[in-house]
């Protein structure tokens, strides 16, 4: 997740990573990780990176940061398919969830 400052927008964090900032801490599904009780530390990228086990990488020339995915486990931590939303070539958004009720083969390919 690309960041312009170390202050995280909770809505962007939830959309991108599934982690939600709640009174009890950072939560994803059933799991909650405690955060500092109050103040801007709760949405500080360094604090979150440390607590959630995510890398925080900086690009000095542009001043940008990137909060990477959680490490220590596996790419898949849940067998429920994420609610992927992506556009087609005409920019129309498609929700993977709309195919619920059918078997789905999801294929990743590339032009390269």
């Amino acid at each position: 997740m690309i960041l312009e400052t170390l202050e995280i927008d909770p809505a962007q964090l939830a959309r991108r990573t599934g982690w939600e900032i709640k009174p009890e801490g950072a939560c994803k599904g059933e799991r909650c990780v405690p955060l500092p009780a109050t103040g801007d530390q709760r949405t500080n990228a360094r604090v979150l990176a440390g607590r959630l086990g995510m890398p925080l990488v900086h690009d000095e020339p542009s001043g940008l940061w990137c909060l990477g995915p959680e490490f220590g486990g596996r790419a898949l931590v849940d067998v429920r398919a994420p609610d992927l939303v992506l556009p087609d070539i005409d920019g129309r958004e498609f929700h993977l969830r709309s195919l619920r009720g059918s078997k789905v083969l999801l294929v990743a390919w590339a032009s390269w």
Partner: protein, 228 residues
């Protein structure tokens, strides 16, 4: 490429969704999509979200998801048919490099027949199919993500973002870092090689290119065989 299989298996209940992992977005994927004329959803993943979400390190990769939205097979090598490039003949007068390239391509193991047979069985038998894996096996077979690989993902995301901002040299630095931290991630490096400017050479910029890296691991190991 998947359209023929879609025509065969959609009436039996299968949906196919293809996703192009392309930093260049719809414009670079468009010629392929327009030629394939898919009737199934064909999506563009400009930020490579799908690789990160599922742990995909090369394409083509397929993920199976059942009627309830449960993943029953994690990302695996997925070919709907033997690719044409595998029948490529060495033309007379080919350079040493061309010969090496074609020989490597011919050695890739795609095994489309087994993939399609397993897919058909799952489509017809669902959870009773031996190819539908239990949840713990799906998770266990997905890619481990040690600290270095998570860091590689962050560098790759920064690289893509900076490339889109036209900060091409800064982007290269992060693609190099991603490569250093996770050298076997073909998605990262093939994408980075494609983004090079005309006249730039992958070997000079990244100290690697497709042929060199394939020869290092052996072309027969480039697409890991599916463990059925």
């Amino acid at each position: 490429m998947w359209q023929a299989l879609y025509q065969e298996l959609n009436p039996r209940g299968l949906q196919i969704v293809t996703v192009a992992l392309d930093t260049g977005g719809a414009e670079v994927a468009r010629p392929w999509i327009e030629a394939a004329k898919p009737e199934h959803p064909s999506l563009i993943d400009q930020a490579h979200l799908v690789d990160e979400l599922f742990g995909i390190v090369n394409v083509p990769s397929g993920v199976w998801i059942d009627e309830d939205g449960t993943i029953v097979r994690p990302p695996e090598t997925a070919h709907p048919a033997q690719p044409n490039y595998q029948n490529q003949q060495i033309p007379p007068g080919a350079s040493e490099r061309e010969v090496a390239q074609i020989s490597a391509v011919r050695k890739l193991r795609t095994d489309a027949e087994a993939y399609v047979a397993a897919l058909r069985e799952w489509v017809d038998r669902g959870s009773a199919s031996r190819f539908a894996l239990a949840p713990e096996d799906v998770l266990r077979r997905s890619r481990p993500r040690p600290a270095g690989e998570a860091q590689a993902a962050a560098h790759f995301e920064l690289g893509q973002h900076l490339h889109r901002m036209n900060r091409v040299d800064d982007a290269i630095h992060h693609f190099q870092e991603a490569y250093r931290l996770q050298p076997d991630n073909w998605t990262y490096k093939r994408q980075a090689w494609q983004l090079l400017e005309p006249g730039q050479n992958a070997m000079e910029v990244y100290g690697s290119d497709w042929l060199t890296d394939v020869q290092k691991i052996g072309a027969e190991n480039y697409y890991p065989p599916v463990d059925w």
